[in-house]
Amino acid sequence: MVERKIRILVAKPDLDGHDRGAKVVALALRDAGMEVTYSGLHQSIDQIVSTAIQESSDIIGLSIMTGAHLPICQKLIKRMQAEKMEDVRIIVGGVVPKNDIPKLKEMGVQGVFPGGTSFDKIVQSIRSLF
């Protein structure tokens, strides 16, 4: 199999500014050989989707700390469907209660990594999606 660098957009949706996790994971994924773009703060779903198109991202990783992961993911998925981005995977990190993980997966989120997940696990899970 030809190895191609996985292109990931690490994004901070909406108003929350707690970006330590997003930046740390972005650095870890870069060290693991992925091509990482970081969105910066206060990004609307529309902005995130258009950056992902621009960067030809294979995967969008949302970092969400506010508890709003369900509505945010719903919005993202709807927007991506409208843009016909079926090939682009979605993963989520941040403060996510256990009970919400199946709900996110059912929606179409392919990986959920609550705070404290090891870099190895995140990297392996992402690779397994391709």
């Binding site: 901070k12 909406d14 108003l15 929350d16 500014g17 707690h18 970006d19 330590r20 930046k23 740390v24 972005a26 650095l27 870890a28 870069r30 990482v36 773009t37 970081y38 910066g40 703060l41 206060h42 609307s44 506010t66 508890g67 709003a68 509505p71 945010i72 403060v95 209660p97 256990k98 009970n99 609550p114 705070g115 404290g116 090891s118 870099f119 190895d120």
Partner: protein, 455 residues
């Protein structure tokens, strides 16, 4: 909590309020009232503060980019309830530079953000004798990944940026630095934390005396809230956080804190549950009233170990401050993203050390117990947002629209002319201008910060 012995309030605002958006702004959807109180206008303050004795209770207002708006609103509501502005005590967080380094609730470009901080300090010095207009937060910088040395060095360089802004308005540091307070973090090695606070206290006095000519002894104190330690607390085995917090309070007190507050043990999961918040208060009450922690000041002074650590810490902080000065001072270092890059790098290095078990965290990478329990969560109810939006619509329908436009015009003029915006903000609050309208005036003139890329 006030009935349980608490003497200060700390008001947390929801993200739309912190970002200067009204509840009906499309960008606020899903966030109204989620992480704190939604404030659209004076009406919300009238409800929230209706039974608060303004002359007895001090309020911390956890807001930064538009802290000027919230301080004006606090004064307005207090006056409306019959208290004079001279008697009210508020501490808006109001530290925009640390938001740009660590917490992310910024709106305007760096220099305009700092100007608003300067406006509030100047106004408080002249008009609000019991208010502390800025709380400089090494805390969040440390939470974002900085080392304890960087935490203090950044906090002091930030303080210097604000001091110099206010000096440019013709005020003498002697007349306003006594109003500065600091919010510092406390997790990490116990001895290092004590040494950090001791070194910081000494250095702050030295900086004020030698660089800014401050003479009066009382004004040289490093006043502040040392505590919290959120990043030290863990999601795993959450009850351990109760024990951790007690040690954090001990370190803060031994390091010379005047004020301390603790995170609640369930904060990795949620906004604290009432039970957890009460436990944090009880922890402090045990230390203060049961075991005699307040019997003397600086009880570790003279210990060879502590004095050596303190001296080393002082030297390292000074070195780090020099580095920031070489970057052109804090305003430039933040505008260019230098500090943000360093802090992100430190956070990454720390996380790697944690995962490699070079740093031990009980219950996380040692003495683990497998699955951890779920903690009770606060539910978010969309209906609250709908109610808030309906109230806002009703307010806009019934207030004096002409007066609002007139006062917003005055605010715009003051902002453009480089005058202090606070008097105009108070006038706007009185006629129920909304947070979004007032912040919008600033945004039209200042624009929005274009965050430097750090990767």
């Amino acid at each position: 909590m006030i009935a349980h012995g608490q003497t200060g309030l700390n008001v947390a605002f929801d993200l739309p309020t912190q970002m200067g958006l009204d509840s009906d702004d499309p960008k606020s959807a899903g966030e109204v009232g989620r992480v704190g109180m939604a404030v659209d206008s004076l009406r919300d303050f009238e409800i929230a503060f209706q039974d608060i004795p303004f002359d007895k209770i001090g309020s911390g207002l956890t807001i930064n980019a538009n802290a000027s708006v919230m301080l004006a609103m606090y004064q307005t509501v207090a006056e409306k309830f019959g208290y004079t502005k001279e008697t009210i005590s508020a501490t808006p967080q109001n530290d925009i530079l640390k938001e740009m380094i660590g917490r992310g609730a910024w709106i305007f470009p760096v220099e305009h953000g700092v100007r608003l901080v300067g406006d509030t300090i100047e106004y408080a010095v002249k008009e609000l004798p019991r208010c502390n207009p800025v709380s400089i937060c090494g805390y969040h910088i440390r939470e974002s990944g900085a080392t304890p040395v960087q935490e203090i060095a950044c906090a002091f360089e930030i303080a210097k940026a604000y001091i110099e802004n206010v000096m440019d308005r013709g005020l003498k540091p002697e007349d306003f630095v006594g109003r500065f307070s600091f919010n510092l973090n406390v997790f990490g090695n116990f001895w290092e934390q004590i040494a950090k606070f001791r070194a910081a206290r000494k250095l702050w006095a030295k900086i004020l005396r030698e660089e800014y000519g401050v003479q009066e002894k009382k004004k040289l104190f490093l006043r502040g809230l040392f505590g919290g330690g959120g990043s030290g607390l863990t999601k795993e085995q959450p009850e351990n956080n109760i024990i951790r917090s007690a040690y954090y309070a001990l370190a803060a007190a031994l390091g010379g804190a005047q004020t301390t507050a603790l995170c609640s043990f369930d904060e990795a999961y949620t906004i604290p549950t009432p039970r957890a918040a009460l436990l944090s208060l009880r922890t402090l009450e045990i230390l203060m009233e049961e075991v005699g922690l307040r019997d003397t000041v600086d009880p570790l002074a003279g210990s060879y170990f502590i004095e050596t650590l303190t001296k080393q810490m002082e030297e390292k902080i000074l070195e780090e401050m020099k580095r920031v000065q070489e970057m052109g001072g804090m305003i430039n270092a933040v505008a260019k993203g230098y500090i943000q890059r360093e802090v992100a790098k430190q956070a990454y290095e720390f996380e790697k050390r944690l995962q490699n078990k070079e740093v031990i965290k009980v219950g996380v990478n040692k003495y683990t117990e497998g699955d951890h329990p779920e903690v009770e969560l606060h539910e978010y109810n969309e209906a609250w947002a709908d109610e808030q939006i309906a109230d806002l619509k009703e307010l806009k329908r019934t207030r004096d629209g002409n007066a609002v436009s007139q006062m917003l015009k005055k605010l715009e003029q003051a902002t453009r002319d480089g005058k202090n915006v606070m008097p105009a903000l108070v006038e706007c609050c009185k006629v129920y201008a909304t947070v979004g309208e007032m912040t919008g005036v600033f945004q039209d003139i200042f624009g929005v910060w274009d965050e430097p890329s750090i990767f």
